[in-house]
Symmetry: C2
Subunit: 340 residues, 2 copies
C-alpha cells in the first residue's frame, strides 16, 4: 500500500481522494498527515447542507442541483461539485453503497462531480465529526461547492447541517402530524425552504404552513449557544452563526419545486448563490468558518483527552469500580472522583 500523496489530491486524482476519505473514516495516522497537508488550501468551498424528512426527495433534488450548477455558468468555468450523502443506516444495509450506484448512473460521465456516501459507524457524534473532516478535505482538494445531504430527522443530522454555510430544508407536501414537530426543529436552521413535489395538490398548503411557522419563529427563542468563548472573541458577540442569520438582510425564501422534472431548480441555484453573496458581504461567512473550525478543534480535543486518559488508566481499578457500579454499590457520579 503506497502512501497517499496530498499533491495528487490537489491535482484531481480521484483514487487518491477516495483513499484519503477512507483513511479519515478509519481514523488512521495517514489521514492526519493528509488533513494537515491540505488544510492551508481550505476555506474556499461553499458548503451547502440539504436536509429533509425521509421521502421528501432529497437525493433527487441534490442530483438536479448538481446538474444545474454544472450547466448554468454561462461561459464561465463550471464549479467543481462534491456530494456527501450522510446516510444514517448501518453497514448492515448496504444502503450507502446502493445509493451511490443509483446516483452514479444519473450523474455519470461528469468529471466535475464527485460523490461519496457516508454510513454511520455507531459512535454517537462520530458521524458529524467525520462529515466535517470529509468536507474539509474536499475543500482542500479544490471543490467549489460541497453539498452535504442528511436526513433531517435526528439531532446528529441537524448538527451536521448546521456546519454548512447555506442550509436548504426540503419538505414533501402533506406529510403526517409527526413531521410537523420535526419541521419546527429544522426550520430554524433553514436558509432556504423547499417544498418538493409541487405538482401535488397539498403543496401550496404546505408552503403556506411553512411560511406561518417561519414567521412565528422569527425573533423567537434563541438557539443554544455552543462554543461560547470562541464566538465571543471572533465575532465579538454572544451568538451562534445561525442566530446571526436571522438578522435583517436575509429572508428565508420558500420555493415550490418538482425535483424529478427539474422544475424550479434554476431559482434554487440562484438562491444558493445569493445566499453566498449575502454571507460574504456581511461578516457571516467568516464567523461561520470560525464556528466550524472551533467545533472541529473541540472534537479533536475531546478525543485526545479521552485517549490520553485511557492510556494512563489503571485497567484493573477501572474494572473494579465498574463492577461496583453494576452491583449498585457506587453511583457512576461517585465513581468519577475515584477514576479521575
Amino acid at each position: 500500500m503506497t502512501l497517499i500523496d496530498p499533491k495528487a489530491i490537489r491535482n484531481g486524482d480521484r483514487l487518491a481522494l477516495s483513499r484519503a476519505l477512507t483513511a479519515i473514516e478509519n481514523n488512521t495516522s495517514e489521514s492526519k498527515r493528509i488533513q494537515a497537508a491540505l488544510f492551508p488550501y481550505t476555506g474556499n468551498a461553499h458548503l451547502v447542507g440539504v436536509t429533509g424528512s425521509p421521502g421528501s426527495g432529497k437525493s433527487t433534488l441534490v442530483n438536479q442541483l448538481a446538474k444545474t450548477m454544472r450547466q448554468s455558468d454561462h461561459g464561465e468555468k463550471p464549479p467543481k461539485i462534491a456530494i456527501l450523502a450522510v446516510d444514517p443506516t448501518s453497514p448492515f444495509s448496504g444502503g450507502a453503497l446502493l445509493g451511490d450506484r443509483i446516483r452514479m448512473q444519473d450523474l455519470a460521465g461528469d468529471k466535475g462531480i464527485f460523490i461519496r456516501s457516508m454510513a454511520s459507524h455507531g459512535a454517537l457524534g462520530g458521524l458529524a465529526h467525520n462529515t466535517a473532516a470529509f468536507a474539509s478535505l474536499l475543500d482542500g482538494a479544490g471543490f467549489d461547492v460541497i453539498i452535504i445531504e442528511t436526513v433531517g430527522a435526528g439531532q446528529a443530522e441537524v448538527d451536521i447541517a448546521r456546519l454548512a454555510h447555506t442550509v436548504i430544508v426540503i419538505e414533501a407536501p402533506g406529510m403526517g402530524d409527526d413531521i410537523q414537530a420535526i419541521k419546527a426543529g429544522i426550520l430554524e436552521i433553514a436558509d432556504i425552504m423547499v417544498v418538493n413535489k409541487a405538482d401535488r395538490p397539498e403543496a401550496e398548503n404546505t408552503a403556506r404552513a411553512l411560511k406561518v411557522m417561519l414567521e412565528m419563529g422569527r425573533g423567537g427563542e434563541s438557539m443554544p449557544v455552543t462554543g461560547k468563548h470562541l464566538m465571543r472573541s471572533i465575532a465579538d458577540k454572544d451568538e451562534t452563526p445561525k442566530q446571526a442569520d436571522k438578522k435583517p438582510g436575509w429572508e428565508t425564501p420558500i420555493r415550490l419545486v418538482t425535483a424529478i422534472e427539474g422544475s424550479g431548480i434554476d431559482t434554487l441555484v440562484n438562491d444558493i448563490r445569493q445566499h453566498r453573496d449575502y454571507l460574504e458581504s456581511s461578516d457571516l461567512w467568516q464567523s461561520k468558518e470560525a464556528y466550524r473550525l472551533e467545533k472541529d478543534l473541540e472534537a479533536l480535543i475531546k478525543d485526545k483527552l479521552l485517549s490520553q486518559w485511557q492510556e494512563s488508566l489503571d485497567e484493573e481499578k477501572y474494572q473494579k469500580v465498574l463492577m461496583e457500579i453494576i452491583q449498585r454499590k457506587r453511583s457512576p457520579i461517585e465513581a468519577l472522583d475515584l477514576l479521575l
Copy 2:
C-alpha cells in the same frame, strides 16, 4: 427554592420527580446529588424503546401500550409506567410541550402513568446522555416499565433506543424508498417489529418485506463494538448486547397492529413480557445493564475530562491558536499538540 428530597421521589411525589428531571436537564449540582441518592434503587425497571419513522404512529402505539399494560394484570398490581418522549425538535417549536398536553388528555387520571417529553438542547450527544439519566432516575423512583419513544431516523435516536432492554421498531405500510434505507439501519436493533395501520392494503406487503430484510440480516455483518474493554470483562465476550440478542433463542416477531383502534396491542404487550423473560433467563439482562452503565460512566468521564481541561486552560493561548487555525496558518490537528 427548597431542595429536592430523594425520599419524596421514592414515595411517589410527582412534583419532586419533575423537579429532579428538570435539574438533570439543567445539569445542576443538585441533580448529581439526587441521582447518586436514587442510584442504589435502580436496576429493576424494564426499559422499552419504541422507535420508528415520522408518521408511523409511534405516539398512538405508546399510549395504547401503556393503557393495556395498566389493565392487563389480572388481579396483580399493575405496573407503574413512565413514558419518555424524546423529541428531536428544539425549544423553538414548543413541540414537546404540545405533545405532552395531547398525551395527557388520553392517559389523564391514571396515577400509575408518568409522562415526560424531552426536547433536545443542541449539544450533540446531550440528548442520549440526558435520556439515560432520566431513565435511571425513573428507575430509582420505582417505575416498573419505562417506555422511551424516539424518532428512529437519526443516529442519536438509534443510540438512545439501543439503551433499552427491549426495542420495538414500528413502521407504517408502504412508505417511500427513502424509508427503506433507514429501516435497514434500524432493523438490526429491533427485538419486536410492528407494522402499524394494519388496515391499509399495503400492510401485509410491508410485513413480508420486513421479514425478508430481517432474514437477510440474521447472521449478517456485525455491529460496531463500543465499550470494548468493558464487555470483554463483564460478559467475557467481544460483542455488544445487541449482537447477543441475535443468538438463537429470540426470533424477532413481526406484528400487524392498528394502534388507533387498539387491535393487536395485547399480543404486543405479551411479546414485551416474553422478551423480558427471555433476557432474564439468559445473561442478557445483566449484560445490557452493564453496557448501559458503562456508556453512562464513559459519558461522565468525557464531560469531566473536558471541563477539567477547560479550567486549567490558558484562554489567551487558546484564542491565539484558534486564530492561527482560522487564518490557515496551522491545522487543527497540529494545534492539538500545542494545546494539550
